[in-house]
């Protein structure tokens, strides 16, 4: 039950095409990641909505195959 960081990044970018994605593998075990996602599409949305957009891009893997993804979202200026 682990995911490769590149797969996480790819899925997020497929769901949010303009996203800049930085991923850190926190524990080196392929199971605990921290991601910062920056996108102009986050503008005007609440944090909950921004995170939901990322979770939606991950197509149900969050909480499943992807146990721990500490998420920070940033609304890009453009």
């Amino acid at each position: 039950m682990a995911m490769d960081a590149r797969d996480i990044e790819r899925l997020i970018k497929e769901g949010i095409p303009d996203a800049r994605v930085e991923i850190r593998d926190l524990a080196g075990d392929g199971d605990h990641y921290a991601a910062t996602v920056t996108s102009a599409t986050f503008k005007g949305k609440s944090r909950v909505q921004q995170h939901q957009m990322v979770y939606s891009a991950l197509q149900g893997r969050m909480g499943g195959a992807l146990h721990a993804l500490a998420l920070t979202t940033v609304a890009a200026e453009n």
Binding site: R47, V48, H51, Y55, G60, M62, G63, A68, A70, T72
Partner: protein, 111 residues
């Protein structure tokens, strides 16, 4: 509404601050749940902790209720505030304290 949905709705609307978590506030069973407990305890906010590990229908139900894939989940006055990352971000920015104050929820201390 399913029974679980109804039970969750009832909890978040009848308690000012509700935390759905793994374990209990005294014995959190997950690091993310533990972080939110620490924030709420630090702020001295009274809250109801609900252990999703005790009831599979609540564990799944709370994810459907908020369209949020993970636990913990923090609710204030019936409104979903966020999970661990958002609670921590808001706490660090002072926004969580402001939200609680705006909702008329007294913290025991003003940090």
């Amino acid at each position: 509404m399913t029974d679980a949905n109804q039970a969750i709705d009832n909890e978040v609307k009848s308690n000012d601050v509700v935390l759905f978590m793994k374990g209990t506030p005294q014995f959190p069973m997950c690091g993310f749940s533990s972080q939110v407990v620490q924030i709420l305890d630090y702020l001295g906010v009274p809250y109801k902790g609900i252990n999703v590990l005790e009831d599979e229908s609540i564990r799944q139900g709370v994810k459907d209720y908020s369209n949020w894939p993970t636990v913990p989940q923090l609710y204030v006055k019936g409104e979903f505030v966020g999970g661990c990352d958002i609670a921590r971000e808001m706490f660090q920015a002072g926004e969580l304290q402001q939200l609680l104050a705006d909702k008329g929820i007294a913290a025991k201390q003003s940090a």
